[in-house]
Symmetry: C2
Subunit: 496 residues, 2 copies
């Protein structure tokens, strides 16, 4: 066993001899040489660490170029504000308060326009409220005599700071006004304790507010003009992307489960990636909530029902929990016999293809903000696939008890295998298949939950009717039409 540190650092090797004690074979070097080797190893390790870190950073930049753009935007805003004040030196002109403009830019500029706006509003409101209150308290303190002045000031700072800190714990305040409360505490302490007289305070407050206004307006302008990132749009993209991922996961899971029966063409890695998509849905709760915490308006109107996106997200997570369990069944060691699996193969794959079509259609509905003309049809097909699955399960007992009957699609080998078994296949062997079937049916129910949530969104946001709404009368009734429709869905989703 060679420890990593030893391998990179010293030259100490441990050899475990069979049935013997642990022996340490250390070549005989002087202590200086050993220290030198160790130092070399440390430096090498550090360089490797930094290299890996930079590699990660590079990957991040390549994956999300918009983040690079954001960084350049921050740099730009800061340079513009800084140079503006550098030209009229920092501690003259607009007074020592000029640095508040720089501070504002650094603190307020966020990745999304919504977050920047929200922080700007928080900063302005917090400063204004606290400033006004502090001037009042300052006046009261100055009236109460020299002896009581520090007491009044200290007590007011203690009281207001404690109260504001407490409100920051309330989830609703935390989500929306956390920064405002912080700025409130800060401004109140600074203003109420500054040694100024009230008339000078007004001048200072005016300067402070004007510098903050310059800083925030600079941030808002730059974040809105150059490649703006809207929190609302991010939320909406996240939700539609997750729907697609969920659909692929479900499809992938079922295909994977029945894979032995027929080899799948897709490459191993790609299919594995698709399969794991549900994990994104499981882990995106925090992201959804943080996007919702800021003002999430994007390129839609201000009345857009953003909260409904959270509901859709929750219903998708509900679905993902079930897919997680399904995924375990697939990787389980206990598998039903091949010929029994084959009996359910086609219905299951039909079911998964319809249910994932439903999810993909929902993704398109959410993405294009047009009501779908075929979602009802697809849900109907999904439900009839559930019915087919139930029927197939009902017909299983015959198969279990009289395996001598010709099994549709069973090869000669399998038939021989069947005949050689006793009159009954052990129930235990079929149970894993039952579980998969039950989970699929449960997933169908949960997908309907997603359908309802998207329907509600369509009503609330007044989605336009589907583009091909005129064709609604001749609703597809035969399989061929529906298959064409499916292909259309896929194509549209690829554009998504």
């Amino acid at each position: 066993m060679v420890h990593e540190r030893d391998a990179s650092g010293g030259l100490e090797w441990r050899v475990r001899v069979a049935h013997g004690p642990l022996e340490i074979l250390a070549p005989e070097f002087g202590p200086f040489r050993r220290a030198w080797f160790r130092l070399q190893g440390l430096i090498l390790g550090l360089v490797m660490k930094i290299w890996r870190f930079l590699e990660k950073a590079w990957d991040l930049g390549v994956d999300e170029p918009r983040k690079i753009i954001h960084c350049l935007k921050v740099g730009m805003a800061l340079t513009v504000v800084s140079l503006f004040y550098y030209m009229r030196p920092l501690y003259e002109g607009v007074g020592g308060n000029a640095m508040w403009a720089v501070l504002t830019v650094v603190v307020v500029f966020e990745y999304t326009v919504g977050a920047t706006l929200s922080k700007s509003l928080n900063r302005a409101t917090g400063t204004f409220l606290a400033g006004t209150l502090a001037v009042g308290v300052h006046w009261v303190a100055s009236q109460s005599g020299e002896k009581f002045e520090p007491v009044v000031l200290g007590a007011s700072v203690f009281l207001l700071a404690s109260t504001a800190t407490f409100f920051r714990f309330i989830p609703m305040v935390k989500a929306r006004f956390d920064y405002g409360a912080l700025v409130f505490i800060l401004t109140f302490s600074l203003v109420s304790l500054s040694g100024y007289r009230v008339d000078r305070l007004f001048k200072m407050a005016h300067e402070r507010l004007s510098t903050i206004a310059i800083g925030t307006s600079m941030c808002i302008l730059i974040s809105m003009i150059f490649c703006p990132v809207w929190a609302g749009k991010e939320l909406y993209l996240l939700i539609t992307r997750n729907m697609g991922k969920l659909a692929n996961s479900l499809d992938g899971c079922v295909v994977e489960y029945f894979k032995d029966s027929e080899p799948v063409i897709e490459s191993e890695e790609e299919s594995h990636m698709k399969l794991q998509g549900y994990k994104c849905v499981l882990n995106s709760k925090a992201t959804e909530e943080s996007l919702m915490g800021t003002c999430p308006y994007g390129h839609f109107n201000f009345q857009h029902p953003w909260k409904q996106y959270l509901k859709i997200g929750a219903s998708m997570r509900h679905c993902a929990y079930c897919i997680e369990t399904l995924n375990t069944c697939i990787n389980s060691e206990n598998q039903a016999p091949e010929f029994i699996k084959k009996h359910l193969r086609d219905v299951c794959i039909t079911f998964s293809s319809y249910s994932s079509s439903v999810l993909k259609e929902l993704a398109i509905t959410t993405k294009t903000m047009r009501k779908s003309s075929k979602i009802d049809y697809l849900v109907g097909e999904m439900n009839s696939a559930v019915q087919d699955l139930q029927n197939a399960l009902k017909s299983l007992p015959n198969l279990l008890i009289s395996p001598q009957l010709p099994v549709l699609g069973a090869t000669e080998n399998e038939k021989r295998e069947l005949t050689s078994t006793t009159t009954m296949i052990p129930l235990m062997e079929v149970i894993p298949l039952f579980t998969v079937a039950t989970l699929l049916m449960e997933i169908a129910a949960r997908i309907e939950g997603v359908v309802n949530a998207v329907d509600e969104l369509a009503d609330m946001a007044e989605f336009k009717p589907a583009a091909d709404d005129k064709n609604k009368q001749n609703q597809p009734t035969n399989k061929i039409t529906s298959d064409n429709k499916d292909q259309e869905t896929m194509k549209a989703l690829q554009k998504v």
Copy 2:
């Protein structure tokens, strides 16, 4: 249907007459009177909203008094620092930089000691690094002539601000050094652009650092001395609490499923609360990670393997996904016939009692930081319960095919019901029960994952051997002893 706004605001009532159109019955008031009513309603609504908000705040305070203490601590720190500088007025003495002490306290004081320490270190390091760098850049700029000075300064601000902003996107940096990067950008812009000469800069840097030192040390002292909240301890409490909740959920789910067979004494609400405990586990990922993001040392040593707690958390979530699905099966409309359920009832309840005992024992192990002497025994019992469950499932087919055979525990009514059915109970009706059984077995496998994670923690943190390790030789072999042990476990857990 009465709209909320209407109910509180105006006096407009909508009455939907059966088969008739929507009629609006508005009493004939003058416009002023109507406006008055509307205003009254608005004020009433606002008062109600504020009242509900305050109620929530009150509940929060009652539930978590430690948060109130934290608020008082913040107030105290701020008052002390403020009055200290008020006595030596803010813009004299230590210079205009004195306000940095107040600012530091407001920004750095966090709920846990770890977070406060981490922010203090971030602030100090960020300020120091940026200050040093800025002085260098400042010198270079001043050497490059009056014309190029703003160019050099602007370029350096742009470059460093953009780079630092980019690093804030890297998850590892975001989790630990986000605040440091922010302070770095801020200090660098302020110092490099200040109009000072280098010699005055040193004086300013000295003052700035000393005020920050005063602010941070005040925060650290107060947060450590008065009722300290350690992030590590919070994490460890969260994990142990979640284990207990998971155990209760699992137990509750199984008992609920077999409830019809035998009424449960527990009150409805309490049992519902217990049942929903797994949801806490599902939703605690973000909390765990944020606690881990700060320096999570608590009252343990510095080498404590905190990361392992995250692994335990992940393995518990893995388990909770399955319980979520199990919970749905329980609330499903499709239920297996009572007498078949009865056949599995005892094994399932035994299984759930053992598996929840395993979880509770793990909670005690993690809580007391002592290796458990009976965890192996409990896991063994859980696995043998799984075996029993499998055997019970194997014996089901006889029951299904020949219901005429006496069914153990079936009442006369049930027997008559059985005899009246055809020779076979439809397989479909039994499938929900199979699913529950499979899920229970899967949960057992996932609980073993939790056991392994806790075992690893015990090895890494060198947990002490169990207190009753001497009795280990006479390992309990009979049921009675194990039941006593179970009662002990329960008692110990109640203390937890």
